[in-house]
């Protein structure tokens, strides 16, 4: 352990997560909100993928003459599932935005408030 510098990437992901959350909360345009959501998702995925990293680890493919240490492949598998979820959420959200635009004529949250 050489102090918290080793974990610098973790702080970066938390910062990215907060940026995404800020965009979701502060932006009025629904597409921008969705982009913020995607930033959050990316930060979480990147965090989990890097958590599988082992110092000096190689790709976990076992064969003749290959010795460890290996990086953990499990987080990658998890995040594949996570990406599928994120894609479906994005697709659904875009479809909803199209529907909102068609019905209300705007996709700005502050203009939509008056329409309710």
């Amino acid at each position: 352990m050489t102090g918290s510098w080793q974990n610098l990437d973790y702080f970066a992901f938390v910062a990215l997560f907060c940026i995404g959350l800020y965009v979701v909360l502060a932006k009025s345009n629904l597409v921008k909100k969705l982009l913020g959501l995607n930033i959050m998702e990316t930060s979480v995925f990147a965090f989990i993928v890097t958590s599988g990293m082992v110092d000096g680890g190689t790709a976990p493919i076992v064969g003749p003459g290959v010795t460890g240490p290996f990086a953990s492949p499990l987080p990658h598998a998890l995040i594949l599932t996570g990406i599928v979820v994120a894609v479906s959420i994005t697709a659904l959200a875009l479809a909803l935005i199209v529907e909102i635009k068609r019905q209300c004529g705007t996709i700005e949250a502050d203009e939509l408030k008056g329409l309710d």
Binding site: K33, M40, F47, I48
Partner: protein
Amino acid sequence: MQHLLPLAAVLPLVAGALVPAVAWRRPDRAWGWAVAAGSGTLVVTALLTLRLLRTGPFSYPLGGWAPPWGIELRFDALSALSLGIAMIYLAVLVFSRRYAQSAVAPQRRAWFYSLLLVNLGGLVGFACTADLFNMFVCMELVSVSSYALVAAGGGRIAALAAFKYLVAGAVSSMLVLFSVGILHALTGSLNMADVAVRLADVEARGPVLLAVGALTVGFMVKAALFPLHLWLPDAHASAPGPVSAVLSALVVKLGVIGLVRVLPLFTGLEWLSLAPLQEALAWLGAIAIVTGALAALLQEDIKLMLAYSTVSNVGYIVLGIGLATPPAVTGGLVHVLNHGLIKATLFLAAGAIIYRTGYRTLRDLRGVGRMMPWTSVALSLGVLSIVGLPPTAGFLGKWYIALGAFEAGRPGFAIALLAGALLIFVYYLRILNALYFRAPLREEMLAVREAPVSMLLPVLALALLCLLGGLFGSGPVALAARAAAALAGGG
């Protein structure tokens, strides 16, 4: 027999995926298929619950990989909720037939049933999983299908409400996934029992605190606990009737079940006390009881009223969990089931009334009690039950939570509970008054006919369960007490 446990979740998921194929040439087949799948799930969960009662909790390694490496499904006392889930869902699916014919466009109808079945599969899977990531996946199955179901009926408010719900839900899901990632990074495991053991040796305090906080906030949003409930009223009120029933009765309980599952993971840590967190939950629950009931009091729209009442009732459940004494947690968990039964009755009855009359405000609905007597009887039974009058299902949970509040030496919370019940009583008097004792405002009301049998039957069955749930409540209470043991010990 051994493979029954995965079947409980896989059956509705596969059946849901197949709906569009089954209904390809004959759209009317979708409903029969969905009801058959729903009944199958009910049978499977009933068999699982029987086995639980006979032999105690049992687990199943998915794909033959033994835990903690593989994904473990586990059927314990809390998972027995899946029987209630399947029961309520079957009623909703039967009810959906006529409602979907009027509210959902023909080309969307197969997808509507498909989404409902996927939702059911996710809920059952969520109740039965013992793996953190699997829990997240089931949660997303439920959430994403719910977002789509809210918008299924069409209409401008529905699309907007669905989007709002999606944003809130997706943010909370990411919080949960983030904490799952932290826990995996800390312990190298995803199996809940294994994580709990390994977490006891973890030294790093920051990440653990971050994980507890993010999990709690994430599940609070899913459960629509005050002050994170703002997405709920619009989504629940503008969804089609059967969907509202599912969302209010079952989907918000996801957050509660999630909390009950993950909080015990942290009880093994010596330096971490959950007491402040539980105190905060109890306070938020108490505030939610009162504010939810007050907000419901101000509504004219019957579905908005019911939606705010859900906010209030989630408050009861979380108050029970936050108090962390055995009777309080037992009461909270019993109320998870009983509120599900009651709220499904109420939303389905309201849906039947809206289906027949086309009106949804109390003013417009005056006098409907005489025209639709059976539906109104069911609605009134649900109303009495949610107020918590003694022989009904709503009474049990509240009684145990109040007992728990006294046991914890916090009679103040019991007073909040009573105040909530009184407020609820007032706004339900308004409903009963409008149904039975006011002269109709609209002439059309006099020509309204009773709801069709396919709607009336599930509504009456659920209303009967509301009544029986109170009279024969010892079974659920015993199971809830067993499930509560894991959580109440740590307080």
